[in-house]
Symmetry: C2
Subunit: 146 residues, 2 copies
């Protein structure tokens, strides 16, 4: 018996029709064993962050109802909010047509999601000037903490 309580099993090798129109979860991890994960605020519907999950992170997220990711820079499982308190309680998990992305609908237990200090990682928009140059405009101006 494994000590790992996160025992959810994913389907594999589904046909295209089963993958797209079926009811079995068969996450398509990439060559590095990772799948992109988008976190959206369940209430405001704001996109908070984008990260990656490996198989363990996805299983833990499903089992515990809190968002787990895989940190590519630290090469380790990452329980979001462990140090910041910005734990993400999951309201819903969705996957897309070919099951190579997951979308989490979350409520952060403490406001904020971005290590820079903003509410969302997507705090800047792209502006194209009349002269053809591009720049970034801050859409959030106050930091909420990290």
């Amino acid at each position: 018996m494994s000590d790992d309580p996160y025992t959810i099993e994913f389907a594999e090798n589904l046909s295209r029709d089963e993958l797209e129109e079926g009811d079995r979860l068969a996450p398509a991890f990439d060559d590095n064993g990772l799948i992109p994960a988008i976190a959206q605020h369940a209430e405001t519907r704001e996109i908070l962050m984008f990260a990656w999950m490996n198989s363990d992170a996805l299983r833990r997220s499903i089992e515990t109802g809190e968002a787990w990711y895989f940190s590519r820079s630290r090469n380790e499982l990452w329980h979001k909010g462990d140090t910041s308190g910005q734990i993400q309680d999951i309201r819903e998990i969705r996957t897309d047509c070919d099951q190579d992305v997951v979308l989490l609908s979350v409520v952060p237990r403490r406001e904020g999601a971005c290590h820079v200090g903003y509410r969302s990682c997507f705090y800047r928009s792209v502006r194209r000037g009349d002269d053809g140059t591009v720049s970034l405009i801050f859409e959030e101006t106050e930091k909420v903490g990290t």
Copy 2:
């Protein structure tokens, strides 16, 4: 002179502080020259799809105000909606803290975004049963066309 009218130049090799807190757009394309792109409906705030852009796709999206992606399966630039009519008019483009993701706020000119026929590619949610098994539930039941 180049025939390519999409001449926007991106910054490169910024310091971490310039990348995160600055006003210069320096998209961090991965080893394959791609960057993840999330498309969110500008009005409903529903996540419609997730795809990839190369440098050309991002420049064209900024210049034309319509979403261009890079199809990894076809290995070519992809003007979303060219065949389906589901052209995505871009209201806003954002990037994240380390500029390795872009978020498009769009209005599809014709309803729908998913090649399977649903309004959004994220038409299924993950349900965890009491017995520990997982399955997918259809959150959209009617196809709007492809």
